[in-house]
Subunit: 69 residues, 2 copies
DNA sequence: GTGTGACTTGGAGTCCGTG
DNA sequence: CCACGGACTCCAAGTCACA
């Protein structure tokens, strides 16, 4: 499992746990909706700033999104 | 302290703990020395793949480089 | 051993849409 | 609500010479 896949898995998991859609998360994190979809499909290696914004929107720390649980 | 600063601090700390120069780390992680220098000076928001390669070279997990200790 | 400016380019990230 | 596409913009990624 590479780093993109870890991010993708954590993104999906935390997002669904909170019951928010990709669109709602996109709004909260001020990131494009289609880009979040891409990240959940391991299409890109996000920057740490994007990871940080997504983490804040999900109420976790940035490193939580890169850690296997 | 933003995410770039956290990465920079952890990079410096782990690197010095292991007693390796930017040049040696650059060789280990197969990343240009001046780019590592840039990251330690918060010049860029690195991608998670770069963070992952640096982490492996330092013998830690990627999320360790984004976590305040 | 490290900082820095200048440079190129591939990919991160956005915006429009569709099924 | 999401996957996926094309067409864009702009910065991370990578290299070099020099201080």
């Amino acid at each position: 499992m590479n780093i993109r896949e870890i991010l993708a898995a954590n993104l999906k998991r935390y997002r669904r746990e909170r019951g928010v859609s990709q669109e709602e998360l996109a709004h909260l994190a001020e990131i494009d909706r289609t880009y979040i979809s891409s990240l959940e499909r391991c299409q890109y290696a996000a920057s740490i700033e994007v990871v940080d914004r997504l983490a804040k929107a999900l109420g976790v720390e940035a490193y939580d999104l890169l850690r296997l649980v």
